[in-house]
Symmetry: C2
Subunit: 415 residues, 2 copies
Amino acid sequence: MFAEIITIGDEILIGQIIDTNSAYIAQELNKIGISVFQISSVQDNKDHILLALKEAESRADIIIVTGGLGPTKDDITKFTICEYFGDTLVQDTEVLRHLEDLFKNYFSAPISEINRKQALVPSKAIVLKNEFGTAPGMWLEKGDKIFVSLPGVPFEMKGLMLNEVIPKLLRDFKREYILHKTFITYGVGESTIAEKIATWEDGLPNFIKLAYLPNLGMVRLRLTAKGGDNTVLDKAVEAESKKLYGLIGDIIYGEEDGDSLEGLVAKVMTQKGMTLAIAESFTGGKIAQQITAIPGASAYFKGGIVSYATETKIEVLHVAPELVKKHSVVSKEVAESMAINVRKMMKSDFAIATTGNAGPTKGDSDADVGSVFIAIASPSGVSAQRFTMGNHRERIVQKSVNKAFELLQKEILKF
Amino acid sequence: MFAEIITIGDEILIGQIIDTNSAYIAQELNKIGISVFQISSVQDNKDHILLALKEAESRADIIIVTGGLGPTKDDITKFTICEYFGDTLVQDTEVLRHLEDLFKNYFSAPISEINRKQALVPSKAIVLKNEFGTAPGMWLEKGDKIFVSLPGVPFEMKGLMLNEVIPKLLRDFKREYILHKTFITYGVGESTIAEKIATWEDGLPNFIKLAYLPNLGMVRLRLTAKGGDNTVLDKAVEAESKKLYGLIGDIIYGEEDGDSLEGLVAKVMTQKGMTLAIAESFTGGKIAQQITAIPGASAYFKGGIVSYATETKIEVLHVAPELVKKHSVVSKEVAESMAINVRKMMKSDFAIATTGNAGPTKGDSDADVGSVFIAIASPSGVSAQRFTMGNHRERIVQKSVNKAFELLQKEILKF
């Protein structure tokens, strides 16, 4: 059973927004054993939407459409789907009541004429209640094929996927099992890994596929198994994982269940009851931001100091001015001092510190663009290392953040 | 002249990665007047890639393909494109030399067998040199149609787009002009705006389109004009903009040239020679991170304190414990104290402070999830406001960050 995703909106095709909806929908469908065949992003244009629906119908059993359900004139998805089904629009009294409630509670105003039209739905559609917005979801069937239309606002789309679409698919359909297992490796390139595991890769059973996903110093290896028997898949993937660890266990940093590097850090920190503080220079708050994006961070995260300016490093983080003068602000010594001081100020078990130059021009030091120091302080001391992270600002920051989590994780595991 | 983008990779279709390449490519093509008709993400599967190439060729003049060019077994794009063109692979000596140099300089090792194959290209292809990686870009022509194949690693793809593809398109083709102008509004919903500007919208010339892009408390309004004469487009968009300001100028916060809210803040701060410090609680470093993501932030950004734990607010930010005890840590008083103190500690002109509860559970206070305070301190004093941001962690943070930039911008403009 295959699904296709169609995202509708000119803003995607001019690159003004990145389509994040498709990845979310694909993840949720995969979890329940439905593979996505193709994702297509098309314009707010009737003929184009009709063509995309037709092409998707020819390839897939379930077609999930997002976007173009707003109340304004550029939103035409509902009318176009209605035409595709040769259907007419009728007013849904429950949706209308929901709209009236929303307006009363949130805007203290009667419903406007333009929003009243949000209660119109194709007569053949099963309405999916959108608790978080004005545009209802719609479920339509055509022979064996299912068409689902969802709003493009990610928050509303997610609510409808979780509360309506996934439960209904689970209830109504028998699906093949899909099992993914992803290994995070670091420090070694894609092609070197490929050579080390070539024989094993060639010997994988035909229902297991391997993919290499390189990104900013890490390579993820993903095994995907498909079949009718969950137990068989589980056992086979488990057996292959063991073989893989035998070959490259020394570079496998962790496994991923949608888990990020900082997610792994969070797990270990929480388990061990340890705490963390962060002093950031060129990473500008990104380490703290990624840590706090994980619910429950308050259990182990004390806080951070973003000492962007040199004077902030001296006056707030109490790095000795002589140290800066002697070694420069981008140096092993300053990184170590930052880590020691923030650990002390925030009374934490561990601390991360970063100092470096992310470019595009040289900053408060003569350090080359891409030259960075990352320090980890722990109950047993402090140690900083120098890295060269290329010359692309965004990548320098993200690679350094990844590296900081890697170094921290290694250090925590010693305690 | 239309383009289509095809992104290749199973990791996109299982939702493991978000396709950010398409938005970048679409933006760059739009800048030079090439519209993107459709974006399709397809599997690492020969038949599927062949089908996608055929469909795209039937609709567009330029087909840009990314992904599937790695050296490992799951990467089949090059072989499939070669088959689509009925071509054979030949070794490119320049690419081979580049590979040998890369290996010598970065890995201090001779080139591996698996990477040597990266120098094979279809005989009819014009090779586009990939300075940043091992897989070359390829440019192939078939009658009037152009096919470009680029690596999926965003950094490598971007280098090839900027250094090779865009210059070649500019040199070889006459294109229609495309002009976008985007207005950022806040505080008023999409449908209310639509009612206020309905008559104006209906009267827009047929070569100008309007789109509504609502997101987290803001609505962007985008005008898109297309035509053969740049001057005509400029004038018409200018005239319509003036009319729009006449209707809703009071809620237009700024205009966007790919500019973000914090980009607008950065511009004004730099112009005025003012400086900024930040004290963040539940926003966890995200305000600092967005500020420092903009090159040149060091001109105005002194630094920030992420005082996630209450004790960090007291011990590092020097918020009085009595204040926390009397008003709770999520209060107007604590937000204002945080802003005043961080402004003083970092000797900045302005300061932002946030305290609140982003959930999912209640934290160090009794404040409801979604209840937040944002304070702005300036040379003339301090003021905090309370906001209710819903009950979704990620959205609470992002809406609060947006709101903080909005409040700061308003305050700066007074000086």
